[in-house]
């Protein structure tokens, strides 16, 4: 049965056509992936289905009957549930309160919290989604928060579950758990729509895939009849190299050295302990780890945003442990921040201002900015780094996530640095842009720059880095030139890589 059918849906934002005559059929009981780059119109389409957006044209059939979904209230009534990319949870309320709000069980006109807890406990048990029912959202992990989001939807008796990029925030282990849950939900008769831009996930979890590009449906295929390569091609519209080719390079002098760096937190907790890293010219050192194990803090220590408790940082022979950030940058330190929107860009500024940000002194004469020089320089950067924009004076808000990231990378790589700290450079970026970013990082390696690549993406690390360090709970737990994917996954999870375990997890990862 076709549980949902979209018929020539059109949605515009101003002149921009987000959905261009979308036709799509979702069958009952399947896991259907909507695959596409950022800005392809996946989320827009789902927001229309969920009643958050009103389409300009087109019809939606639910259970083979035409229906109008004007607001989320109606969507929920019709058995739809959406797990949003940015969790719609209230930090200071408890998990139970978050789940029941809007559908509260009552007793004498008041909220019956006892009954609410029982009901939440029951569905939590039924679907094996373990949560602490009286804990506040702010005190639980991201994985648990996602379980709360799923329970919210199940509590409202949803039959069709829409997941919007659910794995973006999860650790590899949490992703495994999520996939198990999805399969259980499917076995229980639910229909699942899964929005993603990740090829591997799509191959893993879906029954059918619909690829969207620039607001149009490119094709719907059975997952078993396709391959990552074919999907990537449909997604981007050209051939994409999924694996980068890396030439062997010679290593030069040491550029960055971190010696016994430790960081103690406010509550006397150890955040980083005795970190030792040394990176040579022309070398990419990868730092692997599940996010939240001290990478962000290390990033802050290296850039000078945070004071280290002990240890030394040496750049090109000079100690910079206590040097201000501005001076570090002058000494050839480039930084692609892990949170590019928050720390890499001023989102309301236009492209030119963002491109000279931190480097504005070079474009100043007698205390005035030289607009002509700036424009010329910016044009060059934008062209070289393939930032797609309408004009230089447009605010960076208008750019897609991938283009924003390319802009930051362009700025950081164009200043001829000695050392590049690339933290999560491809987070939330789609395949086409990932390929481009990877190639640029390798180009820097060829130009004999020293690069520290902090990433949670195993494949990225394995294909780019010459040497990989694994960080776990603030300590470097392993360092090697070549790892298998399984080994790395285990080390990141804090396990010692004994042979049996590797075999076991290896199988699990392969099966997923």
């Amino acid at each position: 049965m076709n549980i949902i059918e979209f018929k020539s849906i059109i949605k515009k934002f101003g002149d921009f056509i987000a959905n261009d005559k979308i036709d799509l059929i979702i069958k009952k009981g399947e896991i259907h992936c909507l695959l596409g780059e950022n800005g392809a119109g996946k989320t827009t389409l789902m927001n229309i289905l969920f009643g958050l957006y009103k389409p300009e044209e087109g019809k939606i059939f639910l259970r083979e009957k035409p229906c109008k979904i004007n607001n989320p209230h109606k969507a929920i009534e019709l058995g739809l549930g959406m797990i949003h990319q940015h969790f719609m949870l209230i930090d200071r309320l408890t998990t139970t309160e978050n789940i029941i709000v809007g559908e509260e069980p009552l007793k004498n006109g008041l909220v019956d919290m006892k009954k609410a807890r029982e009901q939440v406990k029951q569905i939590s048990d039924n679907y094996h989604l373990a949560i602490k029912i009286d804990e506040k959202i702010e005190n639980i992990s991201v994985g648990e928060q996602q379980r709360v989001e799923i329970l919210k939807v199940l509590f409202r008796k949803a039959e069709i579950l829409i997941f919007d990029e659910p794995t973006a925030v999860l650790t590899p282990q949490e992703v495994n758990n999520l996939f198990t849950t999805l399969r259980e939900l499917k076995a229980g008769g639910k229909t699942i729509i899964f929005i993603t831009h990740k090829l591997e996930e799509t191959m893993n979890i879906s029954d059918r895939v619909t690829v969207l590009r620039k607001g149009k449906v490119i094709s719907t295929v059975n997952t078993c009849d396709t391959s990552p390569k074919k999907l990537a091609r449909m997604m981007v519209g050209r051939e994409v190299l999924l694996n980068v080719n890396k030439e062997k390079g010679d290593l030069g002098d040491k550029v960055l050295e971190v010696k016994d760096l430790s960081l103690i937190g406010k509550h006397k907790n150890i955040i980083l302990k005795n970190i030792n890293i040394s990176i040579r010219k022309g070398e990419i050192v990868g730092l692997a780890g599940v996010s939240g194990n001290g990478q962000l803090e290390l990033e802050e220590c290296l850039t000078g945003l945070r004071k280290v408790t002990s240890g030394k940082i040496i750049l090109g022979g000079d100690e910079i442990t206590h040097t201000p950030t501005r001076i570090r940058r002058k000494k050839g330190f480039s930084h692609i921040p892990s949170d590019c929107l928050k720390r890499g860009l001023v989102s309301t500024y236009d492209l030119t201002k963002n491109i000279i940000l931190g480097n504005q002194d070079s474009f100043t004469k007698n205390g005035f900015l030289q607009q002509n020089d700036i424009n010329e320089y910016c044009k060059e950067v934008i062209e070289k780094f393939d930032v797609r924009c309408q004009s230089l004076n447009e605010s960076v808000n208008n750019l897609s996530g991938g283009n924003q990231q390319k802009l930051v990378i362009g700025r950081e790589l164009s200043t001829n640095p000695k050392f590049i700290l690339a933290a999560q450079p491809t987070r939330g970026v789609d395949v086409g842009a990932i390929e481009f970013i990877h190639n640029n990082i390798l180009k820097m390696r060829k130009q004999k720059k020293a690069i520290l690549l902090i990433s949670a993406e195993l494949e990225e690390l394995l294909s780019l880095a010459d040497r990989i360090l694994v960080i776990y709970e603030g300590k470097i737990v392993s360092e090697k030139n070549n790892y298998t994917k399984e080994e790395l996954g285990l080390l990141m999870a804090g396990k010692k890589a004994s042979d049996e375990e590797i075999l076991e997890t290896g199988n699990r990862i392969r099966n997923d």
């Binding site: 957006y53 719609m88 930090d91 200071r92 309320l93 008041l110």
Partner: protein
């Protein structure tokens, strides 16, 4: 020194503080409901003033102060609705809209006073609210002195404090309201009718201010004077913050402010060798200190002051 201590712990000071606290408590709880819905409410001041004026107008027209209270409630509700319209529908900046409302209401009430009573300073005298004595309670030694004999709005205030707390923390409406104030988008995706909740909260906020205003003009006095609220709306907003956006906390904070005010008045009567101006400063100094401390710990609703636009 002993004289001062006597004033500090005097039952009359505590009793006077209850009377002084009433308009603050009403307005502060009005602030709680508004801010829990995500709307910063600097308009409390103007709403109080409106209530005070409408109360006197009602009593003037009918010679019945209880009809005056009804007028104040209706006027408060209307102003609450107008404020909601500007901040929600027209997406005005909350602070600007609030300050605008205050200036507007100051102007309107003064102008109407001129037209109705021919004076810009004060209105004519009207029938005020009489005191109600509660039979058994009033004969109990300390409690009797504190709670035994007040006008009706004091008792209404105590009921409102409890009632508001139950609404906010025990009912579905309250839970939804708290969600709305934290994250309107989340509320929307949950199918919560967030606009209805916001409008209801702001109208209720206006009603409470109306009652607080009526107490100022009909309860404490029996006339209206220009700018009668005299900054109490702003103090109430501070009490709402200090009270942690909670009706019980708002009551406690308002009472503390009121107590220092009562204390100040009584200390002036002691003829201490200190200029009166210094003594008059006490409540304000305390307010600053308390707020400075409270602000560090305070955590406003996460969505406070934000606009959310649906794409429907």
């Amino acid at each position: 020194m002993q004289e001062i201590l006597e004033v500090i712990f005097n039952i009359n000071t505590f009793s006077a503080a209850i009377r002084i606290s009433v308009p603050l408590v009403f307005a502060a709880i009005g602030g709680v409901f508004s801010e829990r819905a995500g709307i910063i409410n600097l308009g409390l001041e103007g709403m109080l003033l409106t209530g005070a004026f409408a109360g006197v107008l009602g009593s003037y027209l009918t010679s019945n102060p209880y009809i005056g209270i009804l007028f104040a409630i209706m006027a408060g509700a209307f102003i609450g609705f107008i404020f909601a319209l500007f901040t929600i529908k027209f997406e005005a900046n909350h602070v600007v809209a609030g300050v605008g409302l205050n200036i507007l209401m100051l102007g309107i009430t003064t102008w109407l006073m001129q037209i109705l009573w021919g004076s810009r300073g004060t209105s004519v005298n009207v029938t005020g609210l009489g005191e109600i004595t509660i039979p058994i309670l009033s004969s109990i030694p300390i409690l009797g002195k504190l709670f035994g004999s007040h006008n009706i709005l004091v008792y209404v205030m105590f009921i409102i404090v409890i009632f508001s707390w139950i609404i906010l923390f025990k009912t579905p409406f309250g839970l939804r309201l708290r969600v709305v104030g934290e994250n309107q988008e989340a509320a929307d995706t949950l199918g919560i009718k967030l606009r209805k909740i916001q409008y209801t909260s702001l109208i209720f906020s206006g009603v409470l201010c109306g009652l607080g205003g009526a107490y100022l003009s009909l309860g404490q006095l029996n006339w209206f004077s220009m700018n009668m609220s005299a900054g109490r709306g702003y103090m109430a907003l501070a009490a709402n913050i200090f009270g942690g956006w909670n009706p019980l906390g708002a009551f406690g904070a308002s009472y503390l402010f009121a107590y220092t005010d009562a204390l100040q008045m009584r200390m002036q009567a002691l003829n201490l060798n200190v200029p009166n101006e210094i003594i008059q400063m006490i409540p304000y100094i305390l307010t600053i200190l308390v707020l400075a401390g409270a602000m560090i710990r305070s955590r406003p609703p996460a969505g406070l002051g934000k606009h959310y636009k649906t794409n429907r």
